[in-house]
Symmetry: C2
Subunit: 474 residues, 2 copies
Amino acid sequence: MTLYIDLATLISSRIEQGLYRPGDRLPSVRALSIEHGVSLSTVQQAYRHLEDQGMATPKPKSGYFVSPQRKVPALPQVGRPALRPVEVSQWDQVLDQISHSPEHSGLLQLGRGRPDITAPTLKPLLRSLSRLSRRQDASVLTYGCIRGEQSLRQQISRLMIDSGCQIPFEEIVVTTGCHEALSAAIRAICQPGDIVAVDSPSFHGVMQALKGFGMKALELPTDPITGINLDALKMALEQWPIKAIQLTPNCNNPLGYIMPDANKRALLDLAQRYDVAIIEDDVYGELAFSYPRPRTIKSYDRDGRVLLCSSFSKTLAPGLRVGWIAPGRYQEQVLHMKYMGTGSTAQLPQLALAEFLAAGHYEPHLRRMRSQYAQSRDQMIDWVSRYFPSETRVSRPLGSFMLWVELPTGFDSVYLNQALLEHKIQIAPGSIFSAAGKYRNCLRINYASKATDEIENAVRIVGETVARLLNETG
Amino acid sequence: MTLYIDLATLISSRIEQGLYRPGDRLPSVRALSIEHGVSLSTVQQAYRHLEDQGMATPKPKSGYFVSPQRKVPALPQVGRPALRPVEVSQWDQVLDQISHSPEHSGLLQLGRGRPDITAPTLKPLLRSLSRLSRRQDASVLTYGCIRGEQSLRQQISRLMIDSGCQIPFEEIVVTTGCHEALSAAIRAICQPGDIVAVDSPSFHGVMQALKGFGMKALELPTDPITGINLDALKMALEQWPIKAIQLTPNCNNPLGYIMPDANKRALLDLAQRYDVAIIEDDVYGELAFSYPRPRTIKSYDRDGRVLLCSSFSKTLAPGLRVGWIAPGRYQEQVLHMKYMGTGSTAQLPQLALAEFLAAGHYEPHLRRMRSQYAQSRDQMIDWVSRYFPSETRVSRPLGSFMLWVELPTGFDSVYLNQALLEHKIQIAPGSIFSAAGKYRNCLRINYASKATDEIENAVRIVGETVARLLNETG
Ligand SMILES: Cc1ncc(COP(=O)(O)O)c(C=O)c1O
Ligand SMILES: Cc1ncc(COP(=O)(O)O)c(C=O)c1O
């Protein structure tokens, strides 16, 4: 049903990445139909969709061309973190983000990593939950196997084939969200005092886990299009006794890039050469706007050094608290960490998810969310370019639902957040994405919800507040 | 409805503790009616119940007397662990216990810590779960506040009054089971290498957490009636830099004792004197057979050094994975540990529990389970004394649903478990309850389920196998 949207998204991401430039002729309808194995009319629909979006222009008798460039804000700059291991800070700011629950505070939380949970394609999952809830038996109400429910692990094993992984269900361990997967992975490999290399900016959950376990983070310069800088990584591996590399290569949080496959492979080579583990977070991988979904680093792994962590929090609903880990050669240590952390994961959501996946409800839901998020990304970039000062730089997310916004050096997004409180709006200050509190001139905005006047208005207020603060300090 | 059962249980536990001895005259109906504020007919019902159980004998015109002693196996001996900090072992044996899920393996798991989840008094909870599952909104499907759902925390605060605690809901943090509460508590207080004093035998979840965090356990001699030996504790505090004392004073797992209030207070005094924290596990406290429920050490705490950990896993259903912690002065550290461990706890079970508690469904359920467990304890002790060799010693649980069985030194319950596999029966070998693998001559048996022929038969097989193994080795 939304096959054409997938194709349109693929073409538009190629345009955005510069493969086709403004004025270039786009591939013929026939060529695309053969390349992607879809009908001619699907390709035509995709092109009409790109036309509607102002990305492609038809020329009679000669096909489609890339439209003249729209004015899009410049890209964020590459992070330049200090290349040495640091102790993680920023807990206060993180706590501030996660302390409010939306119902009680009435805050519009533009900063949090929440997906849209209103789609009708979620209904079958709710029905399963509701039906299974009434089952008063051990399968629902008591401790399950520490590895997780077999029927769910089988479905996860199937899903992972799309990312290039052949992992038997026996090697998968269900966790309480991706949080537990990451935390167990880190603790399975590292001891207190050890150094973990991370992309930068990076997910605060991991960095706070490093803090909690007394480990150090080495933040690597990260390109907003290609991800972690491999030369810098190599230098760091030469210089420091790094135990693990932790990164989110697909639809990165917060930058939105997808690491090119060649880089993924090169990264794995480096990890092999220096014998370090890779903790790969793929929690957004299935929300890539292009189809088929990007590969994981794990898919190239031959000696079990990659611990692949994920969950259904971003694709379905975070409230389920169901994630998983494919821990490679670290299975035994990960099981131990899981046991001491939570014992086992709740059965009910596992059983409901297994039903939902087995019945084929997941893929239509993903297609729907991908196209919604792709549209609202464009909308959010438009709003930011309209309402924010002209110096603003923004990311070009290739998946998921988060935009990274960079303001001139010296701007203070923690202060911005305080100023926004009176408007009951909250953004995520960039500094929580750095172990050392860098990126204070940046912020992350969530665009998961469908565009509404309320959100547009909030973005306008944020933009105006940014402008006011810039004027005051400049 | 079961008020008389509560009273009967109280009297019978006084008999068991030796307050009234065989042949003693029991208090008059009138005296008990005044003491407990219940009607005369309730006391009469209680006495008739004790009569049915063979504990009390009426003598015309002179009231009730304690029946001549039934033949009950001797008590287990006091543990004599090596009084020095050790690294925790036994993970293999623990993993063996928790790897099987009952549905797939067809094992009769007499070793696990599972409550009976078949009572009709659980129904309202299932109905709430089922109804709330259909609510497609943020309150159910997305991340809640890291501290947990306010309505649930308010109910927990109310429940804790019964254990003598006045703790405002703001100080309570919801966790993913008691496992997460304990693990967060340990990590909030201790660093790798630190020493934690524990009761012995003790819950393996805590000891495996110590192992996972690289801490050492100092196992304290523990009396099967009064709990941790305070003199030994004092000596240990003098000798070692102990950071925390972790124990389960109420309806201890695995021994079943309730620490006398005076000992609880003395323990707190020691903790204050030597400035160590107390991690108190109260997961079975509401399942004490006597009424009112026993106090927590936390209820005496004045300077926030007690971290009280609990959950609804034993009183309602472990599959919910909802627990809590009242971390006293360690709130901030515990929140950090919770964030890195699981992010937040699932919303759905929290909301359903809050409804269940607010509607007053919890207390009738507890009354029912307490009286069921008290009865099946008696049944299990009967079976063990009937089917096990005469040298067998057993505990006298004052609550909860686990019996500790001690066999002559040299007996090997790990080997017993292997021998039982062909009968598809599993017990918990005593060694998993010791950091150093002591108590291999002991085992723990679950008596949560109502007595059935299947269970009686299983106990008979275990007893016969024990006898055979004893003969072979002896
Ligand atoms: C990169 C990344 N990994 C993991 C998580 C946490 O996932 P979960 O909610 O499944 O614990 C998040 C959520 O913010 C995230 O952005
Ligand atoms: C003493 C004790 N504490 C905690 C737990 C674990 O509780 P939960 O299932 O809530 O994590 C158990 C369960 O075996 C236990 O016996």
